[in-house]
Symmetry: C2
């Protein structure tokens, strides 16, 4: 029997959940944003379930919501990813640790060092989610009056990636001899000085960290624009996508894999993981009721702000308990308006329910029993909508525990998810190649290390 | 009986040791630079011995030594401090975690977030060693052609400190209500937007992290120049000093404490901890023999470079096994030349031995039995040469274990070092006040938190 295609599972973690109503859900840990004990328990539970990676998003400003909504939401603050993931590295052994870092508001020497260091500390489990940071408020915290323009950000990101990976290659894998007899700690012939002078960046090098265990930490990308897709096709090994349905997932999948092939990469060199919000119940009705309960915890004034943005039209005067009225066309994003209208119609939602949905989470969701959820996941996998998912837990700890205890065993039973970790690094578990050092030939020692 | 003045002990950690010969010392871990298991064991051992803090220096470039010396030295690379200390936070409970971060080559928003996050993860054990980064090679890794000038660096450092501490004060201690009933996650009246626009920095805020457990992580400083001392007197709570003998330690101690008093601070608000290199033996002779053995592991070509720099004169033509010849005066630093000449005379060292001493560690050292070492430490403490020490271990693990097993009990027996941790935060253990929030009155809740 040919081996079935394997699902990759990341956990898209916000300490309390990314759903703004979750902190009031029964059993929630409203203080998890700064309570390390909870995060440690989540990471260890995910590891026991054989998740590929624990992923932390990152924002360089307080979320730009109206204060009326902000004060209702636990998403206002949380741990900085590097400190958190490094701490988790010390209390886990297998799960990948993917941190977001911005190419617009940081320096490549810092980024290269931190990821290399995290990779050493974790024994080869680091991943870098490259973002250009779209929140314009971030610029104000970094000495700029306005945000760097989109194309400019992506040009810098591309150069930034070249510099960071070049710095990771500063030392050959076998540069460190540590030969007490001859007294040579490292071989200077295996040290490369980058001497990068580019359009946006000028970095001499070398890095003062040995080459990462994985050669390079796994490269992750989440950009959606043309520039974002192109950067991903050129550089990414994992893509965090955001697609509302299978058809659009398939289009994205086909597009990005074709772009990568055109660049001489293999389709398997990129794993595409759309975010999926998963609510588990013993019946579909129970799961739906849980979602309705969760959505009902979103404050109306928070939800209505999200709805108004989606519609491009002030929704605050609508009757909350009636159906969505007809809305005149505006200049605002057509797709987000249509999506909102469609959603209200498909699920027969009142204005209040629609607002609360949008103020919670309105992207791809699997809401049902372990069986229906596994069915949907398997369908995406087989139909080339994705290589797996980046799971978003609706509320914690219960939503996470439900997934781990009920859905994971169902996926394992179907033979589409691992029973044990295949390798010791994130790269090995994801089935990704170890990148050669661009400045040094592979030697026997480095091949052994790559092993 | 009045309580005796208490000694504060930091551990100035380099994974293999800061002595360049240490990686070849019998029993050394030459791979410790990137072996987290060793660092974990060191931190846990220091915690069991009730050390105040584990301190990591940081350098933003490969050390600028001649390649002939560099390739002989394990000091070429090691973990980045934030990733390492965060990982150690997860496997320790009491010991302080002091990371070095540069005000010249980083952004205050990043620094404020990381230290705040580390403080939350560790339950109030973070400290920030503020450096302006003196190594000119660092500038080349951060887009500059030459190093920022000294005074300019310190002006920026002062403003940087104001911004970082201001960002830490973004939220009142009791801003987070997490009141599920009223639906208020935090009180917007307890959120302050910094809106800093200064000479070097422009940062809007607020920080997206709750106020640190300690209010602010402990502020550490290691600058030695006039500008460095002044910054320390204004801002530092711990000073890492470098003094070769008690008399110069006393002068520095008196000077800095007087400066602080002039600024309205109390003498106890600043703890002064000179670095001390400690070698323990069962007899003084044994300890000296260990030092001679360690120094003999420094390569002559490495040592001679250090000696030439100290003398301001090329020493490579000297007879290695003869006494130091007469050296003509030069323009180079007079004090370092005189110190080297004195050292050779006092300890009757050959050129080779002197070179190897300078290539290893030539600052303040306590080399003797637990008793003689404790005598010297107590003398410094009583004579107001310092408030304690930043201990440098000559070789690891043996040098660290010797200190912990033999010297610490002797200090405890004398009643000048703790038997158990006094508080739960670094600040409490060091006997430092919790800083009030500059934007919010202390409330009952914040006072309770301050503890
Ligand atoms: C799953 C996912 C996670 C993301 N995480 C972050 C993040 O942590 N920080 C951030 O600034 N942007 C994040 N983004 C935004 C993307 O980086 C990107 O800016 C956005 O998808 C818009 O694409 P574009 O920049 O190509 O226009 C994320 C996007 C997705 C889909
Ligand atoms: C114990 C000690 C530790 C230090 N650690 C660092 C460090 O980690 N990184 C750094 O760039 N400089 C470090 N320094 C250098 C000081 O920050 C400072 O630059 C140096 O003492 C010269 O003083 P000045 O800058 O006031 O002239 C350290 C100094 C001492 C004494």
């Amino acid at each position: 029997m040919a081996e079935k295609k394997q699902l990759r599972l990341g956990a898209f973690m916000r300490p309390v959940s990314l759903h703004t109503g979750a902190w009031r859900y029964p059993g929630a840990y409203p203080d998890a944003n700064f309570n390390f004990a909870h995060l440690k328990r989540f990471a260890q539970t995910l590891e026991a379930a054989k998740f590929d990676a624990f992923f932390m998003a990152d924002h360089l400003a307080v979320l730009n919501m109206p204060i009326e909504a902000l004060r209702r939401s636990h998403t206002v603050t949380s741990f900085e990813p590097f400190t958190l993931l490094s701490a988790l590295a010390a209390v886990t052994d297998h799960i990948g640790l993917v941190a977001t870092a911005s190419t617009t508001f940081d320096a490549p020497y810092h980024i290269a060092r931190r990821f290399a260091s995290l990779d050493h500390i974790s024994g080869g489990r680091a991943g870098w989610n490259i973002v250009t940071t779209s929140n314009p408020d971030a610029a104000l915290n970094f000495g700029l009056d306005e945000h760097v323009e989109h194309d400019e950000r992506y040009h810098r990101a591309r150069e930034f990636y070249d510099v960071v990976t070049g710095l990771w290659d500063s030392f050959a894998d076998d540069a460190f001899l540590r030969d007490a007899e001859s007294g040579l700690y490292f071989d200077p012939a295996k040290l490369h000085v980058l001497d990068h002078k580019g359009e946006h960046l000028s970095v001499r090098g070398p890095l003062n960290i040995a080459r990462p265990v994985q050669g390079w930490p796994v490269i992750v990308q989440a950009g959606a624009s043309e520039a974002g897709r192109q950067l991903a096709a050129e550089t990414a090994e994992v893509i965090f996508a955001a697609h509302g349905d299978l058809a659009s997932g398939q289009r994205f999948f086909a597009d990005v894999k074709a772009r990568a092939q055109k660049l001489g990469r293999s389709r398997d060199d990129i794993k595409i993981l759309p975010g999926a919000f998963v609510i588990v119940g013993d019946s579909v009705e129970e799961a739906r009721a849980r979602r309705a309960k969760l959505d009902s915890l979103v404050y109306y004034e928070s939800g209505i702000a999200s709805l108004s943005i989606a519609l491009g039209h002030d929704a605050s005067a609508f009757d909350p308990d009636a159906a969505l009225p007809e809305i005149p066309e505006t200049n605002a994003s057509k797709s987000s308006r249509e999506r909102a209208i469609e959603l209200a119609r498909d699920e027969n939602l009142t204005v209040r329910q629609l607002a609360q949905r949008l103020g919670g989470y309105s992207g791809l969701a699997f809401v049902g029993t372990p069986k229906t959820i596994a069915d949907e996941m398997e369908e995406w996998l087989v139909a080339e909508g994705s290589d797996g998912f980046n799971i978003m837990f609706p509320y914690l700890p219960a939503g996470l525990d439900d997934f781990v205890e009920k859905v994971v065993p169902e996926l394992q039973r179907r033979g589409i998810f691992r029973l044990k970790y295949e390798g010791s690094t994130l790269r090995e578990n994801l089935g990704l190649k170890r990148p050669p050092n661009r400045f040094f030939e592979d030697t026997e020692a480095s091949i052994r290390k790559a092993g």
